[in-house]
Symmetry: C2
Subunit: 166 residues, 2 copies
């Protein structure tokens, strides 16, 4: 996304997509969680062009997802480490991984498994309510306009939905 304008300014999903909503950023982020840190590591593992990789690492660094830290002087060399904002995308990646495993691989032939070192088991990520701990489903989560929303945002969405029930 990098240089686009948001189609729905203010929306948190759109906001994140402005940062990672292109073909590569989330794969770069995934590799970073695997432990990849250097330009060459990303480049070889992903098969991404150097030009695009350089662009993405720069924009992700500007967005605060990565810290670019020097690990060697003469010649200067940098590596890309997940910053707080980057680390906090973990639930997004884990949710994506869960979906892909569930719908794209046959049971017993998963490509990736996750072991929780807390309980030692192979697990699935599960999304629950921060307040009561119940599992969250679309039917039981109601989106509401927050204090920062503008009335035009709500009206334009309402118009788009109204088309459905007419």
């Amino acid at each position: 996304m990098s240089s686009q304008t948001a189609s729905t300014p203010g929306c948190p999903i759109d906001g994140l997509l402005q940062i990672v909503g292109d073909r590569w950023s989330l794969l770069i982020l995934r590799d970073a969680f695997y432990g990849v840190r250097r330009f060459d590591g990303f480049q070889q593992h992903l098969g991404i062009s150097k030009k695009i990789l350089a662009q993405r690492l720069r924009s992700l660094t500007e967005a605060g997802i990565f810290n670019r830290v020097m690990y060697q002087e003469r010649p200067q060399r940098f590596e890309y480490r997940l910053a707080a904002r980057g680390l906090d995308t973990f639930p997004v990646l884990l949710s994506m991984s869960r979906w892909g495993t569930r719908w794209l691989s046959e049971p017993g032939k998963e490509w990736l498994q996750l072991r929780h070192t807390g309980c030692g088991e192979i697990i699935e990520a599960q999304l629950v309510c921060s307040h009561c701990g119940e599992r969250l489903t679309p039917a039981r989560v109601k989106p509401l306009a927050g204090p920062g929303a503008e009335s035009k945002d709500i009206e334009s969405l309402a118009r788009a939905i109204r088309k459905t029930s007419s």
Copy 2:
């Protein structure tokens, strides 16, 4: 993504990105969760070009995310309803929304709030272990090659990571 080849075949994250890894699909999906169902609704709310919208709805339908259901004969009209695979992306969208709200809006000025009808509270989505219920953090979740992974996948990742510790 639609017509690309996966850079890391087998990876569940890459698999999902093949389906929704472009600038618009996740926004279309978000609107679908809001209740938008028709071509015009998506088009007006998102400000997406009709060409791209038609392409995306077609590819998302082919991928099993949407069902294209006729709601009127003469003239034939279709609407796009979330299929099981589409509904199951809810955790991804919710995780994205949580990230965006946390990092892109000021406290007290959130654009979006989520009310859980189970407990009635304004909540945050939280990712927990399906086995023990503990909150999942990057440090405590270890990715392992599953039974469907090929050794070359693992080796190429190992090489990319090794660059880090050399």
